[in-house]
Amino acid sequence: MKIAIASGKGGTGKTTLSTNLATFMAESANVVLTDLDVEEPNSGLFVQGELLHSEPKNKMIPHWEKENCSLCGNCQKVCNFNAILKMGDSIMVFPELCHGCYACCELCPTESLPMQPKQMGELKHFRAGDLDFVESRLMISEEQAVPLIKQTIDYVDANFPADTFKIFDAPPGTSCPVIEATKDADLVLLITEPTPFGLHDLKLAVETVRQLGKPFGVVLNRHGIGDDKVPAYCAAEGIPLVACIPNSRKIAETYAAGQLLYRDIPEVKAAVETVAAFIRDHNGGESS
């Protein structure tokens, strides 16, 4: 079963929920936590484990071979992304801008632009106690998160049986990377906080998940601070408010130190248990 943890706004507790939930569930089931926030992967700061495997993740970009090139400039003409330019008597490729569409390569009359792998990031697979943890990190100045997210999901699919609980920490926002990270999920958990910012961004996230047609629930973080408009909104929209994580300075401090919360803070443990039960319900009550 695939569970995506998402939020409209950054900094609402997405990583807190996914790391605590995954570690807790791993005590009694097979769980893999995957950090798909490839621009800023942070789950690994909270879940340290033994590195089992790492691999470079590549994308395909054109490589100029000048021997037969007639400098016709067709490659530049067919590129919609300004990723390849003819400069004087040479052809320059800008790997970060390339989307890997192959148009320049396959439409080159002299076959002077074969596609070659170029590293865009790195995937790491850790084992932390009972939990498997996978993260991918996009290299700085790389622009496209989506291909790396896709390859990371593929890795998880290939390496873990279908009955594993696969928890995905999605990137924030409502743009393509979030959609890529949630579109295969069986269940989406949206985490937010009880502030006008949190409510506004939750509404955007809800719109996104509804467009994808996914079952979903809301987890409210920092409950007690702010106002009660998020619960009111959920009630009015018929959205399950699955659990509330209380606001407390102790939680903020424990998070700041890079530590998991649920073992020391009973309220967090209670919230995580409720979320785990909600997930199992959606899994048809199977123990997987």
């Binding site: 300004n82 990723a83 330019l85 004087g88 800008f94 970060e96 801008l97 100045s141 622009e143």
Partner: protein
């Protein structure tokens, strides 16, 4: 020497455009002939990504040895300018073209390393 400025207008009193990739105009000055040439780069607004290298490619067509701009080109554009051997002087973002030229002559602009 031929100098090229990133600007928001087409004369010596125009403000500089601190941006490189999305600069509105080029102002080209040939010190030998005192000839001034300008180029309207505003079509670049339509490019979602990769404005830097595209502008750098255009710049190369003017054959200027010196680029005077504000914050300096990003990585991709800098790579293009390296191939043409263009010297990049930054820090003129708040000036007019005239002031930027004077600052260049007085050596008060910062020369970008590796570009």
């Amino acid at each position: 020497m031929k100098l090229i400025f990133t600007t928001k207008g087409t004369d010596w009193d125009s403000p500089m455009d601190p941006r490189f990739g999305r600069t509105e105009f080029f102002f080209v000055y040939d010190e030998e002939t005192s000839a001034v040439e300008t180029y309207d780069n505003r079509a670049i607004e339509g490019e979602a990504h990769g404005a830097g290298p595209k502008t750098a490619q255009k710049l190369a067509e003017f054959g200027a040895q010196i680029l005077i701009t504000g914050n300096g080109p990003g990585g991709n554009a800098a790579t293009v300018l390296q191939t043409t051997g263009t010297e990049v002087h930054v820090g003129a973002g708040d000036m007019t073209v005239k002031e930027a030229y004077e600052a260049y002559q007085n050596g008060t602009l910062k020369k970008m390393q590796g570009a």
